[in-house]
Symmetry: C2
Subunit: 187 residues, 2 copies
Amino acid sequence: MLKSLGARTILYPTPVSVVGTYDKDGKPNVMTAAWVGICCSRPPCIAVSLRKATYTHGNIVERGAFTINTPSEKYVKETDYFGLVSGREADKFSAAKLTPVRSDHVDAPYVKEFSLVLECKLRHTIEIGLHTQFIGEIIDVKADEAILENELPDMKKLKPILYAPEARKYYGVGSYLGEAHSLGKKM
Amino acid sequence: MLKSLGARTILYPTPVSVVGTYDKDGKPNVMTAAWVGICCSRPPCIAVSLRKATYTHGNIVERGAFTINTPSEKYVKETDYFGLVSGREADKFSAAKLTPVRSDHVDAPYVKEFSLVLECKLRHTIEIGLHTQFIGEIIDVKADEAILENELPDMKKLKPILYAPEARKYYGVGSYLGEAHSLGKKM
């Protein structure tokens, strides 16, 4: 029996991403975001939605670039911290003992210790309501060689963090269920 | 050591969603999409990106509405099938032995057997490239009472499907890692 829960932001799960930016003085910042998703295959683009009040919002407008960094389970505390504190008040890289590295292709830093990084150039800015959606073209993907399998990241080695909005809970990735574009052929 | 993989649509994982629509004649259709994400909290909005060639793309333009249905692991074959075949050629609901139900608030059908459903009204249409991004306002969330805990869906009861783009693999949800907006306070 389906029960109505009202108008709410419930999509289970959302992938947990850490957005890397420079501010106008060149200070690197990181912020955790769950309102993230791929939004185009050609050119490859990713959308991240942020409140105008965030420090990262101003940085993206200023620099026209950002990185999307995927934290592994072992960085779940640091990742949660990156969403609790503003870059206006803290040097979050230092507090978390993580290392900012200048991207090769865009004007934004990535997190050296994380295993998967997307360098993105801002292409579209869409005002929706409380959140602004920034659409970035993915200029390059970088991954730790240790998590690769057949030249692609392996989910079980990457161990990304999943988020349950509103319930405010984090989860890991579980069992392999099967091959996409293949299982359905049996129907 | 980070290795460059080039410009690719790699975000791990993406949540697997089934998009429900009516065509111009009122035939219900479902299509699997992984380019999906929440994009605003107020009003609550979700973005889904589709190629113009898909049947669902035309249906959303025609009807101005869609549903986002979250399949559980046990429907992984049906879900994969919904992404392999076009609604132009098949009645996918019948083929999968699933039941279309007219939404209460929008002009689109949802999948009766799935445990989590979002009824969405089209608010913005953004042409990005190969994909068009449709931003829908979430008018209502419906969930099976059997998956609720404290009036919210429980991830371990819902058992949503995760997708690894490019590697083309499906995974389930794993262990609980901790409470968001809380773990990071220890830093």
